[in-house]
Each structure stands twice: as C-alpha cells, then as structure tokens.
Symmetry: C2
Subunit: 429 residues, 2 copies
C-alpha cells in the first residue's frame, strides 16, 4: 500500500506534539487513513537548537524549497503561526499541488479569503480544525453535519486564558492582576498576554466561526473586540448579587441581511450553561432554525488536544488523497454580508456610577439616560461610607452608540465622580 508523507513546518510545542503522536498513534492513523502516514520532512529555522524529541539525521531543513519541491510530500502541516512566512508557504504549497492542515487562526482570520480561494483554485484541501477550540470538533461539524441548516448564531467562550483568569477572580476573589499572574505561573497565559486579554485571540476565532457558519467572509478586523483588563472583583460581586456571572463572550449573529460579530466581557445569567464553563474550558453554542441549539464543550487548548485535532485533519486529507477527492469541502465563493457596526448593535448594559451625595443627582443621570433612549430594568443604590453614592443600573436593550453617548454625557455631570463600569448583559441567550 502507498504511504502518505507529510511535512511539519515549525518545531514548537504543537509541531513536537504532532510528531510525537505520529509515532504513538501510528497504527490507528494508518488504519483510519487506509495507508501509513509518515513524517517526510520538518522545517525548522534553527537547526542546531536542542529539541525534546529525537528526529532522524537529515529530517530537519531550514530551506522551505526542500519541502516545496519534494513531490513525495503530499500534506503540509503548518504550525509556525503568525502571518509571514506561514501565508506564503501555504499559498505556495497549495499552488504546488499539496494539501494543507493548519492551526493558524491569525492567518485564517486575516487572509482566510485568499487562502480559501487558493485551495479552491488548486483543488487541494485546506483543513483547520485546531484553529478554534483545540480538540473540540467545531470546524468539522460547521463544514459538514450542520451544513443543511441556516445558522443564525454562534456564541461562546473561546479563549481559555481569559476564562481561567475570570474564574480565579470570581472563585478566589482575586484582582485581575493577581489572577493573570497565577495564569502565567501555571502556563495558561503567555509572557505577553495581550492577544488573549484584549480579546484579539477570541476575535480571530470568532471571525473563522462566523465565516463558516454564515457562508460569508468575516475577517478579524470586522470583529469588535474588547478585553477583560478593566474588570474588577467588585464588578463580579455585584453581578453575582444580581444573578449574573462575567465571562468573555464571542457573539456572532446573522439575520440573513447583516452580521454581528463581537467579543467582549458580558454578564450572563447564572443558570445559562455558559456560566458554568470554568477555567481553561471552552464552549460554543450554535443555533439554527431547524437544529435548535447545540453546544460543543472541552479544553480549548493544549499540546496534545491540538495535535489530536491536527492529526484528525491529516487523516481526513489522507483519505481524500487516496480517493482523489481533495478540494471537496472547499468553500464556494462566499457572498459578503455587511457587518453591523458596534454602535448599531443592541444590547443590555450593566452600568456602575459613583456620584456625589447631592440632592437630584440620580434625577440628572436618569434624565440623560432617558434622553438617549436608555430605559432602566433594575437599579441598586449603595450609600458608601464616604457619603458618596454608588448606582448600579441594568438597562433594557439599546443601541451601543446611544449608550456610549449617554455615558459620555453622564461623565460630564458635576455630580459624577466616576463612571466605574460599563459592561454588556447577554441574557436572551
């Protein structure tokens, strides 16, 4: 039986995990692919660097051409990450007749359309299960089992680092800084955690999910992103008292005319299934008029879960090569639905204000809210020892632009000492 040779680009954590599993699962992979899957070549910039896994002499190269021009290699597994040189390598591989498996969410979220078109034109596969949710199978179902439905919503917790931080803050009453430090110490946050904390990582994944779910190209730049660094433990405690938990959510909606795509912290009801998703776990809800609602849950990151997802893709592509049906799942050229700007998105809000203890202070605030069409669902007033008053509002739905303008006006009031918090509330599921 023919064997299928793959090349792994990059020897970081994921690359090493894949090579390890190629060995440990050799028999199972061969059985399911219908032929042996072998490591043909590894691309690695620093040839002399010590690695945790043994590789045969001559397996590594630092010249991409060695792999691109090697006709015996049929599948490229890209684990370099980032935009360049990954983008160029993937495009050249597809044009050169090789299929590609990648976990590169940065690249897919920025250049998805270009990559999907290249795969389509080359009639080769581009698979990317590990780009979202680690080993949680979400990309496959969106491209296959769920394809008969007109999906209206994808919503979830898709960043493990921020979920870990928020869980620690809530359960251990930690400050954001302390919880982040703990996450870094445990290896759940990068030394530079910006992409996670500011919601950019989740926004990239949201772009990929929305593109697949709605058959309309959504890029990273289309996704509104707001991070968790301003959340305080006081916010959490107050939210909790009102029956909510604060989570970093990705929310993508499609009403057939326009797409909403946003990532931000939000209050969700304690009895919502997403509110029970703790630590580094991810969960994604998919909704459609026919299927109803289905949820996918699991650890969204990690060396072996991600390697497992990548190798699931490798097996699928190997089957496609054996049956000569590569490119079968490639997306047709998408129609492009417009993206609703965040100002026009309607949500409920959680607003905390610190006001001077003056007669008529509340009236001034509610007056402005009323002028901007913000109606109040709940109001809690807390008199502080300082004599100042803290007001906690939960509003009904209002366009984000109007709410922002109302808050800007409130900030200018003489009675306003501080706008403590402005967060969205998501409870329509």
């Amino acid at each position: 039986m023919e064997k299928i040779k793959i090349a792994v680009l990059g020897l970081g954590t994921l690359g090493q995990g894949i090579i390890t599993m190629l060995n440990t699962q050799r028999e199972q992979l061969a059985k399911n692919a219908g032929c042996p899957i072998e490591l043909g070549r590894v691309l690695e910039k620093y040839l002399t660097k010590k690695r945790g896994i043994p590789l045969p002499e001559g397996m590594c190269t630092n010249r991409w051409e060695d792999i691109l021009n090697d006709d015996s290699i049929q599948i490229i597994v890209e684990t370099i990450g980032g935009i360049e040189p990954a983008r160029t390598y993937i495009l050249q591989a597809l044009q050169g007749g090789k299929s590609v498996v990648t976990a590169n969410k940065d690249l897919l979220a920025a250049y998805g359309q270009e990559l999907f078109r290249a795969a389509r034109e080359a009639k080769r596969d581009l698979y990317f299960e590990a780009s979202v949710g680690g080993a949680i199978p979400i990309i496959g179902p969106l491209r296959q089992s769920l394809i008969a439905d007109r999906l209206s919503q994808v919503m979830g917790i898709i960043n493990g680092t921020t979920n870990y931080v928020l869980t620690k803050m809530e359960e251990e009453n930690s400050s954001f800084e302390k919880a982040l430090q703990e996450a870094q110490d445990s290896g759940f946050a990068e030394a530079d955690p910006t992409a996670d904390i500011e919601g950019h990582d989740a926004a990239r994944k949201a772009a990929i999910l929305a593109t697949l779910a709605f058959h309309s190209q959504v890029n990273f730049n289309d996704v509104y992103a707001e991070g968790i660094s301003k959340i305080t433990k006081e916010d959490m405690a107050l939210a909790r008292n009102l029956g909510y938990r604060i989570k970093l959510l990705a929310i993508c909606r499609n009403d057939g005319e326009v797409i909403e795509a946003r990532v931000h912290p939000a209050l969700i009801p304690l009895d919502h299934p997403l509110s029970g998703v703790r630590d580094i776990y991810n969960a994604i809800f998919v909704k459609g008029p026919e299927l109803g609602e289905t949820m996918f849950y699991g650890v969204g990151t990690g060396q072996l879960p991600s390697a497992s997802a990548v190798l699931g893709d490798v097996v699928a592509v190997a089957r496609n090569i054996r049956y000569d049906c590569q490119g079968r799942l490639n997306m047709v050229e998408n129609r492009i639905l417009p993206i609703l700007p965040i100002e026009k998105v309607k949500t409920r809000f959680f607003l905390r204000l610190l006001l001077k203890d003056e007669a008529g202070a509340l009236a001034q605030v509610t007056d402005i809210l009323g002028q901007w069409g913000v109606s109040i669902a709940r109001l809690v007033q807390i008199v502080l020892d300082s004599g100042d008053a803290e007001l906690v509002f939960v509003t009904h739905e209002v366009a984000n632009g109007q709410m922002q303008q109302a808050v800007a006006k409130i900030r200018q009031l003489a009675v306003t000492k501080k706008v403590l918090t402005l967060l969205r509330v998501e409870d329509s599921n």
Copy 2:
C-alpha cells in the same frame, strides 16, 4: 450542472420533515453540495393516506422495486425505522450501487456489522448522523475529527424521553407515573414508551457510539440495559440530600482489552456537567488520552433537528458522488474486543433498605456486605414513624455481581422488610 436525486423511504414525521426542508433549504443545499438535490421518489405503503405535505402526482410509490431499479436515484434516505423491511431495502440499495442515509438506530444496533460490510463491499456511503442525538453532531466527529485519538470513554444522556421524565419527577416532585403521563401529553413520550423507559433506545444508541469510538463492533445485545420505572421521588430526594441527581446514563468504556457498555439510572454529583442537562436535552462526553474531554450537547430528538442531521448527511454523500469518492469513510473490518459482563463491572452503589427496628439489625446487614467485599462510604439511618428504620448506604466500588449477591442475602434476612432501592453511583466521571 448535474443534479442528484434522492428517494425518501417512509412518510412519517421524519420523512415529511426531510421533504419540507428539501424545499425550504433548496438553495443552501445546492450551494453546499455543489449541485441541486432533488426529491426523485417517495416510498409509502399507504398511497391514499392524507399527508401534511403536498407531493407531485406520481411521486409516491408503494413498490420498492420502482426505486431500486431507478438508476437516476443515487441516494436512498431510509426513515421507515425498525428492522424489516428497512434492512433488506438498505442492503439491496447498497448492492445496487446507491448510497444510503439513515436514522435507524434499531437496525444499526442490531445489524450494523452486516450493513457496514455491505457498504464497504459496494464502495458506497452509509451515513447515519441522525441515529444518535438528533441534530447534535456526534457521529461525524467520531468518524472524522476525533479519529486520531484512542478514545477511552463515551458517556452521556442519550434518551430525551427519560430525561424529561426524571426532570419532571425531580423538579415538580412528581411520581414516575405522573411524569410519564405528562411526557406523553406533551408529545415527548410514545403511546408505548417501553423502549425509552426500559433503556432500550439508549442501549441502541450506546451500541452505535461504542462501535464508532472503539473501532470494535458492539451490538444492542452487548449493552446491559436497565430502565427508570422503579425510580421513586423518595430516591430522588435522598440522592439530592447526599449531593447527587439521578439520570439515565449510557456508559461505554474501553481499556484496550475489554469493553464496558451499559445503560442504567445512576446517581451523579450535582456539580457534574451531566447533572445540569434537563428536559429533552441530550449530552455526550467523549474522553481520550490526547484530546482530554469534550462534550456535545443539544436537543436529541424532534422532526426538524433530525431532518437537519439527515440532510447534512445527504449533502456530504452528494459531494462524495460528485467527487466519485463514496465509501471513503467506511469502517474497516473491526477487531472485536470482548464485552465485560455486567457482573464484573465495578461501580459504586446507592442502597436503601427498610429494616425492622431490632437490636443488631444493622450489624447483620453490614456483616453480609463485608462478606461480599462491599465497603461502605456513607451511611444514613432514618427512624420512621412506624418504628422501622430506613438505611441509606453509598458504597465504594465493587463488582456488580458481588453487590447483587450481597443484596440477595440481605433480602433473606428476617430483619429486612424491604430492599427499597439499588442504584449505581457514577462519580469518577
């Protein structure tokens, strides 16, 4: 562009849902399949029966040969259910060069091996996403995304009717009979609910899941099944006091040597994610050494969710036909791992006894438990108004056969008025 014609066998709820969605999703199905998908023929025994959906003149036939011999029909969608004539039709369709999509769990759980072999030999597709979990994509991921892992466990709530009944019993303090009546009135239970209530439906689905997850044929007869009809609201309240909820679970395990496959009510901890799965929802946990744990959740039944799953399969098969790669996912001939008999399965137990109020009664019971190797984790004694004593035990792990023998001995004691309840406890997840 060529179109692909399908025939729908059976015009029940599911069949009608599929035909309806073929119309409402016409454009989306065509776009994703790469060509139009059209209804070619419908097989229906009672041609004159009034149906909820309009069909063109001559679309229905009651002669299977009209469809089998029609070469323009490439995909058979079987929604008749039950063993015969569905089995014969599917086998003949495959042998005749047609691919098959079915939701027929009874048939797959009893004759899976025969059907899989027929598909393999004919090099045609046999897809069955809707056979387990309605629109929850679980079959697809087990056959594809999760294929690189050596799965060790599949566990879940996979029968909506019983979960609805148990939810009502717990939340409304209903008796089993009353809750079942309510389920029937709401259309969530059949007029004859035996297959659901006695765990047979869940056992069929468990057989299918175990076969796919462990690459070893598991049939309905291999799955130990025990239903929920003996559960009382007292059991539920006592379990709750001890920190548990009672659910009908399907549990399939594979240690590489032997397979465990069983369906029975069990106590699960309140903080276990499955304990929060209410009403007609289903949830399935899949575990493997590399991927960790992932869960799939959603409504496990219903006309449109199931039709949506069937049509997802139809699109996949249509793509395969266009690319001439049918049979690609067919299972290789499985090795057959032995099934561990229930007597040898080790679990924890929840045991309720009604004893006469006599000195030494408890000692007699614990003596027998000790003789059979049953060690006690928790014990609650309740003195009843009658003067009798109720004892509630939670045991450590013990082989089911030993526990059964201990309980048989306890039943014979003169001090034993009644063995009220014997249920398993699952908290190792």
